[in-house]
């Protein structure tokens, strides 16, 4: 094995060393630059959303873009059918509360079903942090109303059934008031102090 041959071999490995070290240094710089750039992600995310008319503080679930209108319309989509159905069920109950126990109980049972499904929808709804306390109050009011209506539906006589009317009306009114308050709160653009 000649000396030249060995020297050439060494030179070849040295060249490889230079290449890999140079690329490695470049890669290290890029990784560090990437990490620094990544540190500003949150701020850039808010700017991008704001530029597109989205509300960064209305996107608690990681939705790419949520506007006040989008959130309100989504809320109306779940609350409007509930209000409509509850009105129908209450009308059916009122029509039967003096004469037909079976029909009145069926109307109340339907009311319980719709109240429970509304509670499930509310629990899944991406409420922004600013309205979270109101959302909690609405869910609690709905739960209380559903519980009372279920109890009323178990009545064995028309007199017993009607004895719940006062409390049931108050519970239902509380739910409707909270629903209105929630809609108003969602329609109001959050202030900077309400940032998450």
């Amino acid at each position: 094995m000649s000396e030249t041959y060995v020297r050439r071999g060494r030179e070849q490995t040295t060249a490889g060393g230079f290449i890999v070290v140079a690329i490695s240094a470049l890669a290290a710089v890029l990784v560090i630059a990437g990490l620094i750039y990544a540190a500003g992600t949150s701020e850039r995310h808010k700017q991008v959303l704001a530029a597109a008319g989205c509300e960064p503080n209305l996107s608690p679930s990681g939705l790419p873009c949520t506007t006040v209108q989008m959130l309100t319309s989504r809320y109306i989509k779940i609350s409007a059918p509930v209000t409509e159905q509850l009105n129908t069920d209450m009308a059916a109950y009122t029509a039967n509360e003096w004469h037909r126990l079976g029909a009145a109980k069926a109307a109340l049972t339907a009311e319980v079903t719709i109240e429970n499904s509304f509670e499930t929808s509310l629990a899944r709804f991406p409420f922004p942090p600013a309205v979270a306390p109101l959302a909690k109050a609405l869910i609690q009011a709905d739960q209380a109303s559903a519980k009372l209506t279920a109890e009323q539906a178990r009545s064995s006589s028309l007199t017993q059934l009607r004895s719940f009317n006062g409390r049931a009306k108050a519970a239902s009114a509380a739910v409707r008031t909270d629903m209105k308050l929630m809609r108003k709160a969602l329609e109001t653009r959050p202030t900077a102090s309400q940032e998450p």
Binding site: T14, G16, G17, S24, V31, T41, E43, R44, H45, Q47
Partner: protein, 312 residues
């Protein structure tokens, strides 16, 4: 693509063991050392354990776990395929299957450098699997684009009517012979022509750069214009050509003959730690870029799976 069940180093393009022939004595010493180094993990992987009523090799479990994610892009498109949802196909098939094909290509190309660095060979069968998945994703992408895209010009116009599509179409045409010959039978029949044919993988790798350059350009998004749109405020990380470049840097560097010689020399000296230390930043950059490719795949894939294709 170029993988067989029983791995033979000289059958694969760019394999580490092809390139070191400076000194025979050194080569023999290095080979011995490499075999000794690989035997630890490779032998551990060969050990069988009891699972249910049968005996399963650890390697089999590891290969299944590492190979399964490559099938995800096709899995994501399954609901749209079963329901023939044209909206999902036209909206996100190119992202789901195109990104999936890119992901599988990088995984396929990652095997050789990993064999060279670690000296382990138990994961070599994954190269074939990733290659097959890459081909399936690429062909699926082209078919779906041809059938559901909104571009004019019929099927051919939709798959090759624009410059970036034409490059993509050529890539798909090249992937077909690779898919057809990626098996033992074809390897035996083609003999010495098999290896050069499998090197088409490198042509596809290069064409992917052209495809992404034409698709995304070199710039990233500013305001409402440019590539790499992302609601998360990270347009640089979502720029596909950047992702490709940082991933390719690692894969290409470790294929350069002088670098391979340098690595082999350090390994023969018993200084593999120096190799690990030196390539760590390049590998970190690869992981950085690859993470965003995977993130893109999952984001778009889940949208496709739920049949609510993303507009991003």
């Amino acid at each position: 693509m170029a993988t067989t069940r029983d791995y033979e180093p000289d059958l694969y393009p760019g394999d580490a063991s092809n390139t070191w022939n400076v000194e025979e004595e050194l080569t023999a010493g290095r080979e011995l050392q490499r075999r000794a180094a690989k035997s630890g993990v490779d032998e551990w992987m060969e050990v069988e354990f009891k699972f249910g009523g049968s005996r399963v090799k650890r390697k089999a479990v590891a290969l299944i776990l590492l190979g399964a994610p490559a099938a995800l892009p096709l899995f994501f498109m399954l609901p749209a395929l079963l329901t023939m949802n044209e909206n999902t196909f036209s909206g996100s098939v190119d992202d789901t299957l195109g990104t999936g094909a890119e992901m599988c290509l990088f995984l396929c190309l990652l095997i050789t450098p990993l064999v060279m660095i670690t000296g382990q060979r138990w994961f070599v069968p994954l190269r074939r699997w990733y290659g097959i998945m890459m081909a399936c994703c690429a062909i699926g992408d082209a078919l779906a684009a041809g059938l559901t895209d909104t571009f004019a010009g019929g099927f051919l116009g939709r798959v090759a009517g624009h410059s970036f599509e034409l490059v993509g179409f050529i890539m798909v045409m090249l992937v077909i012979p690779l898919l057809l010959t990626g098996n033992h039978w074809a390897q035996r029949k083609l003999g010495r022509y098999w290896k050069p044919l499998q090197r088409l993988t490198y042509v596809i790798w290069g064409l992917l750069a052209v495809h992404l350059m034409l698709l995304e350009g070199f710039k990233f998004q500013h305001g409402g214009n440019g590539s790499g749109f992302a609601g998360d405020g990270d347009p640089v990380f979502h720029q596909r050509f950047y992702q490709y470049s940082v991933c390719s840097l690692f894969l290409l560097t470790l294929r350069l003959p002088p670098v391979k010689r340098w690595i082999a020399a350090r390994q023969s000296e018993g200084r593999n730690w120096l190799v690990y230390l030196t390539i760590m930043p390049i590998f970190a950059l690869f992981v950085f870029g690859f993470t965003f490719i995977v993130s893109e795949e999952i984001f778009k894939g889940v949208d496709s799976f739920t049949e609510h294709p993303s507009n991003e």
